[in-house]
């Protein structure tokens, strides 16, 4: 599904990713862990095409398409969703209107007609209920005045509405209490199926207890320095990066 080869990324003149390789097949769940500042968010932005993230070498291929040729919105149209580490506030734009615009844009990209207003409302209400979000929050401006946990839950509502093929979830578990963590994890697990893949970026084993990954990678110093199965995350939790011979903030 996603193939990243020898990826080099620069931001603001700084080399952040330095030859990263990662292959995610259909139906797989991958977890990326790594010290602060290692370049995890940078990787998620590079996959999704954030302006200002310059790809100086390497390739990103999604479903056989050269992703680097596509604009960020086109990549979203292809079915890639990014759950942001820091979701952005958009004053004056209600969650409902935002999602409606998003869904219809994506549908337009896929040459599908607009979703009927009634169907949309039914869908968003059921998704909000699944994620135990108060329907009143759908009327509030996108992320404005939301607590950290509410923002993350809102990202999950957006994900389930947009129904992506690949979800990249950047520290979606950070800042969640135990109950919220379980709700979010259930949301991620609902997406699991043989056609869809998930890349979770996390610091904590507690998420991976619920969302059991097929592969775990450690990103440090701009590269994947270690890969393994779910036991790698458990070892990391016990021994720390140093215990595995990985220098923190090696950059």
């Amino acid at each position: 599904m996603l193939e990243i080869k020898n990826l080099h990324v620069e931001v603001g003149g700084q080399k952040i990713l330095k030859g990263l390789n990662l292959t995610i097949n259909d139906g797989e769940v991958h977890a990326i862990m790594g010290p602060n500042g290692a370049g995890k968010s940078t990787l998620s932005y590079a996959i999704c095409g954030k302006p200002g993230y310059e790809i100086t070498d390497g390739s990103v291929t999604f479903k056989g398409k050269n992703f680097l040729e596509l604009e960020a919105s086109e990549r979203a149209g292809e079915g890639v969703f990014l759950g942001f580490q820091y979701p952005v506030e958009i004053p004056g734009v209600s969650n409902i209107n935002f999602l409606r615009a998003a869904i219809n844009s994506v549908r337009k990209y896929r040459n599908e007609g607009e979703m009927a207003a009634g169907d949309f409302l039914k869908l968003i209400r059921s998704k909000a209920a699944e994620l135990e979000m108060d329907p009143e929050m759908l009327k509030r401006a996108v992320n404005v005045g939301f607590s950290g946990g509410e923002k993350k839950r809102n990202e999950m509502v957006q994900m389930s509405m947009l129904d992506p093929i690949l979800a990249v979830l950047d520290e979606t578990d950070s800042g969640l209490d135990i109950d919220a963590l379980r709700i979010v994890a259930d949301g991620i697990n609902r997406m699991r199926c043989p056609e869809k893949s998930i890349l979770v970026i996390t610091h904590y084993q507690r998420l991976l207890d619920y969302v059991v990954p097929d592969f775990v990678h450690v990103l440090a110093n701009g590269k994947i320095v270690k890969s393994g199965d779910k036991t790698l995350a458990i070892r990391l939790e016990k021994e720390g990066y140093a215990g595995l011979g990985i220098e923190e903030n090696a950059a």
């Binding site: 932005y45 960020a72 869904i103």
Partner: protein
């Protein structure tokens, strides 16, 4: 100004963006070019006006000759050559005013169809009555009969001068005196058409009233004059829309709008101003120099101005409220968008004269390209105005690094019991906001439109439902090409 190949190409390039830029090919009758007593007599004769009105025009003209064009606004433009303008242009077919829609020139009907304005009374958008002003004349007014049954007068101001002399004499120039300011005085001398509205005592106008102003002819100024009178305990919501073809030269639109609100009456006045803004390089566009003022003369009178200003090369207007009656209320909700080389100096004046009067000002300025956007507002509290309140909020949104936003609030409080609050913010569309939208599948234009509409929400939700959707789209279109 000679149109070079380059400017023509530039105009062609953006023709996709300003979709109202076409010209209607129609035979017109014009006054001789330039301004003189003869031209004023010509206009007055064309309109078959009573002598008192011609007299009023001529007096205004004499005053105007002694006035100087003001330059206190933060605007940079080439002053119009007043002898190089046609002050009257009208479709020949409107020479004897059509009695019904069936008699209106089909070419004109087609024009309005293209502009998305329905003149068919039986159409779905039937909650709205329209007066259509094309260059210097009103060519049609819909729903007159239905309105008349309620006693509502809705007609062109030229007709009102003939048919309702008592109301006209009493109120014309009573809010904006003939010698008020340079452009208002010019308007008083040469005004051509506009709308007259009278809502009788105790009547809630059964539908939205609106006027659609269109400038078509080249080198022609439009001098619209609108007068709205809301008698005791009445209510009306009125909306004006404006468009013009794309031309290389600047064209002048100098309007005067007067509103009189009596005891317990309310007027809601909305504007969606989309005059041709000029091209990407700042060539052409309308000079929009407008005086709009409402007098709340009765107990608890209320007036609410809502404006969405997206067009014009230069906008210079301050819809104001004179809060004379005790307990009267003035509101001003404004969105002003400037892109490319557009300039807007706009705001309001709230003059608190009566006791317990209150006013609210919400201004949203959006600048993109190399544009300048100025909020200029005055809140004045007279010595006898006990217990008055004002709340002002001015927010500016910048798109890019080459544009500017300025806020110039004047406060003159001469009564110690007044409470005046002023808040101002300036922000930018951040890369983070933009990417967030892009990642959800919106393209750049949609993202900017969404963020800007969110920024303007408090103002947009004041618009009548029938126009809100159109206006939202317009915000997006006006900012096309401003990012990325």
């Amino acid at each position: 100004m000679v149109s070079t190949l380059e400017t023509r190409q530039a105009v062609e390039e953006i023709s996709g963006e300003y979709k109202y830029g076409f010209v209607t090919d129609i035979e017109t009758v014009k006054a001789p070019k330039g301004l003189s007593e003869e031209v004023i007599r010509f206009i007055s004769a064309k309109k078959d006006e009573p002598a008192w009105l011609l007299d009023w025009r001529l007096k205004s003209y004499k005053k105007w000759l002694k006035m100087e064009e003001p330059d206190w606004a933060m605007l940079d433009y080439e002053k119009p050559n007043f002898q190089d303008i046609y002050y009257y242009a009208a479709p020949k077919s409107a020479d004897d005013r059509p009695k019904s829609l069936d008699e209106v020139d089909p070419e004109l009907l087609k024009t309005y169809e293209k502009l998305g304005i329905s003149l068919q009374e039986q159409e779905v958008l039937s909650g709205v009555a329209v007066d259509i002003v094309f260059d210097s004349v009103s060519v049609a007014t819909t729903f007159r009969k239905a309105l008349k049954e309620k006693g509502v007068i809705f007609c062109s101001i030229s007709e009102a001068a003939r048919d309702y002399p008592a109301l006209m004499k009493k109120y014309l120039g009573s809010v904006v005196p003939a010698a008020d300011n340079f452009y208002a005085t010019l308007n008083s001398a040469v005004f051509t058409d506009g709308t007259f509205v009278y809502i009788p005592k105790g009547v809630r106008c059964p539908m939205e009233l609106s006027t659609y102003f269109r400038i078509n002819e080249a080198n022609t100024g439009q001098f619209e004059r609108t007068l709205i009178i809301a008698d005791d305990n009445s209510y009306v919501s009125y909306l004006e829309g404006c468009t013009a073809p794309m031309r290389d030269e600047n064209q002048l639109h100098a309007a005067v709008v007067e509103i009189v609100v009596l005891d317990e009456a309310e007027v809601k006045y909305s504007t969606v101003q989309n005059w041709y803004p000029g091209d990407k390089n700042g060539v052409g566009g309308i000079y929009n120099f407008v005086t709009k003022r409402a007098a709340c003369r009765g107990l608890n009178s209320k007036v609410s101005w809502t404006q969405v200003e997206t067009g014009s090369a230069i906008t210079w207007k301050y819809p104001s409220c004179i809060l004379q009656g005790d307990g009267s209320v003035g509101e001003f909700y404004s969105v002003a968008i400037t892109n490319n080389y557009q300039q807007a100096d706009t705001g309001t004046k709230m003059i608190h004269i009566g006791k317990n009067t209150s006013s609210t000002i919400i201004s949203k300025g959006i600048s993109a390209g190399k544009a300048q956007n100025i909020y200029r507002g005055l809140v004045k509290v007279m010595p006898n105005a006990e217990n008055t309140r004002n709340f002002t909020q001015c927010d500016s949104l910048l798109i890019g690094d080459e544009c500017g936003a300025h806020t110039v609030p004047y406060i003159e409080a001469k009564n110690p019991t007044s409470q005046i609050e002023h808040e101002a913010t300036t922000s930018k569309i951040s890369d983070e906001q933009l990417f967030y939208c892009l990642q959800r599948g919106l393209d750049v234009e949609e993202s900017v439109s969404l963020i800007v509409n969110g920024f303007c929400k408090e103002v947009m939700q004041q618009l009548p439902m029938e126009f809100a959707v159109e206006a939202q789209k317009l915000l997006g279109i006006s900012l096309e090409g401003s990012v990325g």
